[in-house]
């Protein structure tokens, strides 16, 4: 299933975020420019304290920049009130966290449908979209299970289904494989990659090179600044020449 919409899904323009004031203030991000297009998977790497999680929070409208602008699907988040921001987050942005953040008293399908129902989608339609999202992450048969009846990897798939349900175009993932074994982590990367290939913009914060390597572009943060970017060449001839050298 492909996802339609503007080409440029996320844009951060000269975004800075400072915590505290005066001599004790800490600059988490300094004039960061970053654009993620539809169908693009971007990984953000950097030491702890480099600003990775701040960047993700600003990108999803969970926090506001001290200066600069954030646009999601061409909408400037700075111009939105709290209710409008919450509505945009529910409709356009999906989050995946390391600790899943699922509701234990709801089934997998109910967890996935929750943001749609909060947004006023009719229960039947929400349920249909929920099942579709669970199908896309490969666990439609677990729809009626509760969280304590699922493995960590399965719960993370539910969390990803909740992030993509309703074809949200911006997926933000913060160390989503942190608590998972390597095979399950690989499965999570496959799902994120598939979403990007279907047209979503995906931003992954990770310290694992093997996960960052699934991205089209790797952005390196240090001291709140983007210091480097690596884009895959995807040229078999170059690849073989490298390996043979």
């Amino acid at each position: 299933m492909s996802i339609q919409g503007p080409q440029q899904v996320l844009e951060l323009a000269k975004v800075s975020r400072t915590f505290g004031e005066g001599a004790t203030s800490v600059a988490a991000l300094r004039e960061v420019d970053l654009t993620i297009s539809a169908g693009e998977f971007v990984a953000v790497m950097g030491p702890s304290g480099s600003g990775k999680s701040s960047l993700l929070a600003l990108a999803g409208g969970l926090d506001r920049p001290t200066s600069g602008s954030v646009f999601v699907e061409s909408t400037p988040l700075g111009g939105l009130g709290l209710n409008e921001l919450a509505r945009l987050r529910r409709r356009a942005v999906g989050y995946v966290f390391q600790d899943f953040n699922l509701v234990p008293t709801l089934t997998a399908a109910e967890n996935v449908a929750l943001p749609l129902e909060l947004d006023g989608t009719a229960a039947r339609k929400a349920q249909r979209q929920s099942l579709d999202a669970l199908r896309q992450v490969g666990i439609p048969e677990l729809a009626d299970r509760f969280m304590d009846q699922m493995s960590g990897g399965q719960q993370q798939r539910v969390a990803i289904a909740r992030a993509i349900v309703g074809d949200r175009r911006l997926i933000l993932a913060d160390e989503p494989t942190g608590a998972l074994d390597s095979t399950t982590g690989h499965g999570v990367m496959e799902v994120l990659r598939a979403r990007a290939d279907a047209g979503a913009a995906v931003m992954l914060v990770t310290h694992e090179a093997r996960h960052a390597a699934w991205a089209d572009r790797v952005v390196f943060l240090r001291d709140g600044r983007i210091v480097d970017q690596a884009a895959a060449m995807h040229d078999p001839a170059v690849l073989l020449a490298q390996a043979g050298s």
Binding site: M45, P47, S48, G49, S50, R193, H207, A209, R210, A212, A213, W214, A215, D216, V218, F220, V227, D228, Q229, A230, A231, A232, M233, H234, D235, P236, V238, L239, L240, Q242, A243, G244
Partner: protein, 208 residues
């Protein structure tokens, strides 16, 4: 890489001529290590000299066919049985470069590490993409290529982790130098998630 043993192993499968050996080698290793046809003929001459292959003469099209001897089969069996020796240790240009960089004044070691990290991650992206593409539509001949790609992915990932460790040690050294102390203290994470304990073995006096 042992071209000698690789060619013998292919001849154990069936008699072949030089060009066939080259193509078979490259097919089975995903063309990762291209073979020069000159190397193939030189190696076949030596294998014949050592009694490990027979020159069976030309086929109808003028190709010189080689077959493996009993001694050659024993040699292949020995190659598969004995673990690959780690050459003493293998020369690693990156390790040598960084070892020299940290001992010379005025060299931006962090800059070297970051430039290498970008290049290595780029290679890792390419290997990962290639692995994904190959796994998505596997052909029977792709199994060997997937194994080779996995090996390259593991090696490349290990290089990134090692670069993280190098950087963590540099940060630790800078902190020790800044404190004027011995750096002993609670284990805590350095910027790339490496614990101070992991980074600790490099005492400052041993590096300068």
């Amino acid at each position: 890489m042992s071209i000698r043993h690789s060619l013998l192993a292919l001849l154990q499968d069936q008699p072949r001529y030089g060009y066939q050996l080259r193509v078979e080698f490259e097919n089975r290793t995903g063309a990762t290590w291209p073979l020069n046809i000159g190397q193939v003929y030189t190696t076949l001459d030596r294998l014949e000299r050592d009694g490990l292959v027979n020159n069976d003469g030309a086929d109808g099209e003028g190709h010189v066919i080689y077959s493996i001897t009993a001694a050659g089969k024993a040699e292949v069996e020995g190659w598969f049985t004995v673990p690959v020796e780690r050459a003493n240790p293998p020369r690693n240009e990156l390790a040598i470069k960084l070892a020299l960089a940290v001992t010379l004044p005025g060299v931006d070691v962090q800059g070297i590490i970051q430039a290498q990290r970008v290049a290595t991650i780029r290679a890792l992206q390419d290997y990962t993409k290639s692995r994904r593409d190959t796994a998505a539509s596997p052909r029977s001949t792709d199994t060997a290529w997937l194994l080779v790609l996995d090996s390259l992915i593991f090696q490349t990932e290990a290089e990134v982790r090692w670069l993280d460790l190098c950087e963590a040690r540099l940060v630790q050294q800078a902190q020790i130098a800044g404190q004027g102390g011995n750096g002993q203290g609670a284990a805590r994470k350095t910027p790339n998630g490496v614990t101070m304990e992991e980074a600790a073995p490099l005492a400052p006096e041993t590096r300068r």
